[in-house]
Amino acid sequence: MAVAVIMPELGESIVEGTIVRWLKQEGDSVQEDEPIVEIMTDKVNTELPAPASGVLQQILAPANTTVKVGQELALIATASESAAATAEPPAAPVSAPPPVEAVGFYGGADEPAPVATPAPAVPTRSDGQTRTATGQPFISPVVSKIAREHGISHEELLTIPGTGTGGRVTRKDIEAYLAQRKAAPAPKPAPAPAPPPVAAPTPAPQPVAPREGEEVIPLVGMRKVIAEHLTKSYQTAVHVTTVIQVDVSKLVEFRERNKESFQQQYGVRLTYTPFFVKACTDALLEFPMMNATLQDDQIIVRHYVHMGVAVALGEKGEEGLIVPVIRDAHKKSLIDIARELEDIAKRARNKSISVAEVQGATFTLTNPGSYGALIGTPIINHPQTAILGTYAIVKQPIVIDDMIAIRPMMNLCLSYDHRLIDGMYAGRFLQRIKRAIESFEFFK
């Protein structure tokens, strides 16, 4: 008896992920709930537990392949049926996805009530089989026929992205693939139907041959997710950016004066970010549209704040970016926020953060100032409505009461979705943050 390891739904908008690596190999014995595979989704790596104990019989999705939610990743051969029949009552069928709630993929009690949760992307037939008994993807008669007529090998067929149930290649998929292939013919068309490629199947659609001095990296994993995410955001939201200058004298002064005692007292390094999170959170409660999301002609306004904070990964930022979330930021004190930020940023860099911790943000804060950026136009973290960038603090001569003074100044750049937010609302929102920082009203 084989139990399938199924790609679980790892969050409200997650439809696919990438296999990073298998922690167990074919033939290895596995225990139920033991991590067996590392999967990368929506900017996070997570380990998937085995749904049953047994032997990892077959890996259906090798490393670096992109898998859809509901897709079978591997088969685990469980203990023989005869053993089960003797003493113990028959175990409940274990075809369900792995016990994901244990790791909180669906969010805990703190998760807000779901608002108009989108339907699962892939409806499944209750009696439908999209895979054969051997675990091979189901090839329908017509797809098989078309493949044969066009000299597409089985291996090539498996590389075509499928939109059917369980990622099955549908007739439309293969026809689209053929049309695309025709539109962009291979440089050296083979005279006869090409023999099946000997190499192992890779999910890359059309391998590009690198020229000298070039290297080809497949767009997979986090990079792919970021690419898709940003494209979606840019194509959906009407982006506009407004900038305001903030005099951060009091903030800088407070930090300088307290950073050591703060570290001693609370065990946390005092940075500027918790102040920005706090100021921003307070402002969001007063300007809830900034904290809204647009869903099918409905504006969902949130009166709570889950603050996403962008964290760059890698020494040079070459390992991508992750946005951990401070949940219910509006209920937390500055110290709580500081503590949580440090922990979450550290774990994000260690890649030991769970999916739940990067999901559900209602607003995002990004800090290009950390690498000296003066001004910029951040892209909204879809499906949120706005993102605030905090830029480098630089001493500047400014005019106060008709006198020139030297003050540490910082730009706050707010990108927002102009479909929901008008200029004045954005301006007032920024003013609200500016006031909080300049008057330093944090410890009221």
């Binding site: 409806p123 439908g128 329908s140 008669p141 007739r171």
Partner: protein, 328 residues
């Protein structure tokens, strides 16, 4: 062209055929002086007289037997079942007598009869006035089975059925009688719809819907709804259930590769089962998904409206099944 109801189209077809051919006659319960339970034969008795419009006692066996006997002697009989459900009383006459006669007579004696009557549900008709047992005769050699969905087809098919030399069981869906209106040609045009030819009532690209009778209208409504979701249905109205126009079906299957069969009768052993089997036999390599069926539950048609709705297929059922197929 004239605009008429579905019922009027059938009435006019019979009227014109009786005018055209003096051998055509009709027999049934209350069809003469009363003009028929639904008024399909209203005015016939006065116009054609009691020799050609015969009021019969309540005996479906006798009604069909008279038509069969007269047909053997050279007449063309139209036997009305007040409700097609009661054809079961005349079952032997259709299956063992009419259906076999041409064969038994060595091809000498055709039995040109039409056994017609109102069928189907959705009108609160309860158990004995709501059935769709076309599968019985679909299974019977020597008998043709017809069920139109639109006035022009009802008109053209009724004329063809009367002129056909084989026994024809003609299902008239009572839900359509006065709900559906349409244009039909004038008598002078001598318009007929040949038996055994399906008609595509809506062209589409994603899913082939094979259906007939009232379900054609349901399927068209479903197609309209699904169009907004980007799912395109091709709706085939069989019109004649037997002989089955496999060519039209297969041509569409080769285009869409996905098939949904919709029929109002109980699902098990229905006409859709045979269509499904034939598609698998004849176009297996063209399929991209399992052939699916939407049909009535394997039950009686209850009187209570909510229960009737529960048992009989709905537009929603078609929409849901089509979505599932589209996503497969």
């Amino acid at each position: 062209m004239r605009e008429v109801t579905f019922l009027e189209a059938i009435r006019l077809a019979m009227w014109e055929e009786m005018e055209r051919d003096p051998n055509v006659f009709m027999i049934g319960e209350d069809i003469g002086r009363m003009g028929g339970a639904f008024g399909v034969t209203s005015g016939f008795f006065e116009h054609f007289g009691e020799d050609r419009v015969i009021d019969a006692p309540i005996s479906e066996t006798a009604i069909i037997a008279v038509a069969v006997g007269a047909a053997a002697a050279g007449k063309r009989g139209i036997a009305e079942m007040q409700f097609i459900d009661f054809i079961s009383y005349g079952f032997d006459q259709v299956v063992n007598v009419a259906g076999t006669w041409l064969y038994r007579s060595g091809g000498k004696t055709p039995i040109p009869i039409v056994v017609r009557g109102p069928s189907g549900g959705y009108v609160g008709g309860s158990l004995y006035h709501s059935q769709q047992f076309e599968a019985w005769f679909f299974h019977t050699p020597g008998v043709k089975v017809v069920q139109p969905a639109f006035p022009d087809d009802a008109y053209g098919l009724m004329k063809a059925a009367i002129r056909d030399n084989n026994p024809v069981v003609f299902y008239e869906h009572k839900y359509l009688y006065r709900r559906i209106k349409g244009l039909i040609p004038y008598a002078s045009e001598d318009y007929i719809v040949r038996l055994g030819e399906a008609r595509i009532r809506r062209y589409g690209s994603d899913i082939t819907v094979v259906t007939y009778g009232a379900m054609v209208h349901f399927a068209l409504e479903a197609a309209q709804r699904l169009e907004k979701e980007g799912i395109s249905l091709e709706v085939i109205d069989l019109r004649t259930i037997k002989p089955l126009d496999m060519e039209t079906i297969l041509e569409s299957v080769r285009k869409t590769s996905k098939v949904l069969i919709v029929y109002e009768a109980p699902k098990t052993g229905g006409v859709g089962a045979e269509i499904s089997a034939r598609i698998t036999e004849q176009a297996f390599e063209w399929l991209d998904a399992p052939i699916m069926r939407v049909a009535a539950k394997d039950s009686f048609v209850p009187f209570a409206e909510p229960l009737e709705k529960f048992v009989l297929p709905s537009v929603d059922d078609i929409v849901f099944a089509a979505r599932e197929l589209a996503a497969y």
